[in-house]
Amino acid sequence: MTRRYGLTRGDRWVLSAALLALAAAWAALGGDEGGMALVTQEGRVVARLDLERPTRLTVDGPLGQTVLEVAEGRVRFLSSPCRGQLCVHAGWLSQGGAFVACLPNGVAVRIAARSERYDAINF
């Protein structure tokens, strides 16, 4: 059995398996930034958007179609049929726990990070 740094072959096998597991765990846990946006319509989850995959999503509500856009790890309300347009003006969301809702059309978006930065958002 060859010995380097006092490690047996079995040691090296355990170590590399553990390192692989660690890397996988790290990737799964993610950082502080959010990795996924949870989209709800009238309180029901209608989509989970991976923020790393640029896309657009159209959600139907009582007033019409709300369009969400994902780009560069962020999400925003691109357009909305509501009058106030507060959701569109809220701009991009990226941090875990960040939340914007368009009440008139019943559409809400929340960044669901593995470790959320905030337990609640006050506004």
Partner: protein, 343 residues
């Protein structure tokens, strides 16, 4: 090898310490807004039961306190202008009494007798019907009539108004009062660690297994979060802002927080955030301080008994009470805040 396995298992233990705590979140629409509940350490069944109870409470309170729809408060509002004695629903009594105390403490800046003015501006409808701001003459007449809760007499379960312009609208503190009632109910159900967040205004009780709940205060004018605040024990965080409801007409912006002294939207401040124990107090104070404006708000805060306040001026300046300075952690660069000790 055994030594190595031991080290690795310790590492594994450390990693598992970082796993997310058992916080569950539940959302539903009620009270004309999105309500979000967070529970710590509650199993699925208990969390569902608590959520169902909260949902039922909020829906009941919404219909009971809606000033402009048929229902207990709607009926009271039909009878008040007649100026005779009538029997009002007993469930309204604690709400009326607390509203009167808070209105007095605020020097009338929080005025729940403002319903007719709200209707003149069209803010009683959601969404507001498009159109110009009200006729200045009509607004001036309302201001001259000066309806307030002082015009409302209570005699046991009977009431009457001495002023025909009184129309009750508890919108400026109903959310806070409702959140308080729901927290009370959750406690009765054995819930000890929770946040009840009604459209951005919240009360948090307990903690996350000893760690405080972390609340982000959204930047009223830009994207993202302006500051964070750690809350535990039992605290409410309420913000009133000019961005919540507004309309634009001929290039001018009119928001929904009306100054009962002028009859027009309050000026000078973008938002007011109040941290206090009771939700109803935090809610009413946030409105009253918005109305008081950038110079006078500390006197009103003192009179109402709130010590932790952040106000954001129209120009972007930030003012804080000394007690609030100690609570906030900025999440983005901000101009040097002006610290305003309470008188």
């Amino acid at each position: 090898m055994i030594r190595l396995l031991l080290v690795l298992s310790l590492l594994g233990g450390l990693l598992s310490c970082q796993s997310p705590p058992s916080v569950s979140r539940h959302e539903f629409m009620a009270f004309g807004t999105l309500v979000s509940l967070s529970f710590y350490g509650l199993d699925g069944e208990a969390a569902s039961r608590a959520t169902a109870a909260a949902m039922e409470d909020f829906r009941y309170l919404h219909s009971a306190w809606h000033p402009y729809e048929p229902g207990p408060l709607g009926r009271v509002n039909e009878l008040l202008p007649l100026q005779g004695w009538f029997t009002y629903p007993p469930s309204l009594r604690p709400l009326l009494l607390r509203a009167r105390e808070l209105s007095r403490a605020s020097g009338g800046l929080f005025n729940p007798a403002i319903g007719e003015l709200v209707m003149l501006w069209g803010f009683h409808e959601d969404p507001r019907r498009e159109g110009p701001p009200p006729d200045p003459k009509a607004v001036a007449e309302w201001v001259a009539a000066a309806p307030s809760l002082e015009d409302v007499e209570l005699r046991g379960l009977e009431m009457r108004s001495r002023n025909p312009r009184v129309r009750l609208d508890f919108g400026a503190f109903a959310k806070g009062y409702g959140v308080d009632r729901v927290i009370e109910h959750l406690r009765e159900l054995g819930v000890e660690n929770a946040i009840v967040n009604a459209g951005g205004d919240l009360r948090a009780i307990g903690s996350k297994g000893g760690a405080p709940w972390v609340v982000g205060i959204r930047d009223p004018r830009g994207p993202g979060v302006l500051a964070r605040i750690a809350v535990s024990g039992d605290e409410s965080v309420f913000t009133s802002g000019d961005y919540e409801r507004f309309f634009e007409y001929e290039g001018r912006r009119y928001h929904h927080i009306l100054d009962p002294r002028s009859g027009y939207p309050a000026r000078g401040l973008v938002s007011v955030t109040v941290v206090a124990g009771e939700g109803a107090l935090a809610d009413a104070a946030a409105t009253a301080l918005m109305v008081a404006g950038p110079e006078d708000w500390p006197q009103v805060a003192r009179a109402m008994g709130v010590e932790q306040v952040m106000v954001i001026e129209e120009g972007g300046g930030i003012q804080l009470t000394p007690a609030m300075v100690r609570r906030l952690q900025w999440e983005k660069p901000v101009p040097e805040p002006r610290v305003r000790p309470l008188p």
